[in-house]
Subunit: 87 residues, 2 copies
């Protein structure tokens, strides 16, 4: 969906510009963690995952496949589910 | 899946600690954008979405529902698909 909606704009903006937007959205999410408005918090989560998907698209990475490859129903560090690593 | 794997650890670490981890992973993703190793880049994307999911879990946000609520097959700003906003 993000490819269809935004790939043209994302590819024109490029990798660095898209990464910088992602960083800004992560900061906004951090600010929203202290907000009392749940809807605002949900919107900031939506923005971060959207910009992460945009960045994956412009770098040619399949975000879902990458996530499943590393976190495939077990912790990649300890190999357990649930994870038993120390905090 | 992230709830099953990590919710116990994530909830013990708390919202601020989990957010700080997310920020660190976003920095590592930024470094990996300059790497030539595609597999390393994919792993960093996996880590960012994993920590974003962890943060969503400890704040009680459904990440997928939040994303779909805002980006529901059209740009939330211009209402078009593909997006026609200016860059």
């Amino acid at each position: 969906m993000m490819t269809r909606l935004y790939f043209d704009r994302d590819s024109k903006r490029g990798i660095s510009g898209t990464y910088n937007w992602l960083v800004d959205e992560v900061k906004e999410l951090g600010d929203a963690l202290n907000a009392t408005n749940k809807e605002e918090l949900e919107e900031e989560f939506a923005d971060v995952i959207a910009w992460l998907a945009s960045l994956a698209n412009v770098t040619g990475v399949d975000l879902e496949a990458a996530a499943i490859a590393k976190y495939n129903h077990k912790c990649p560090k300890c190999g357990r589910s649930p994870c038993k690593c120390s905090l």
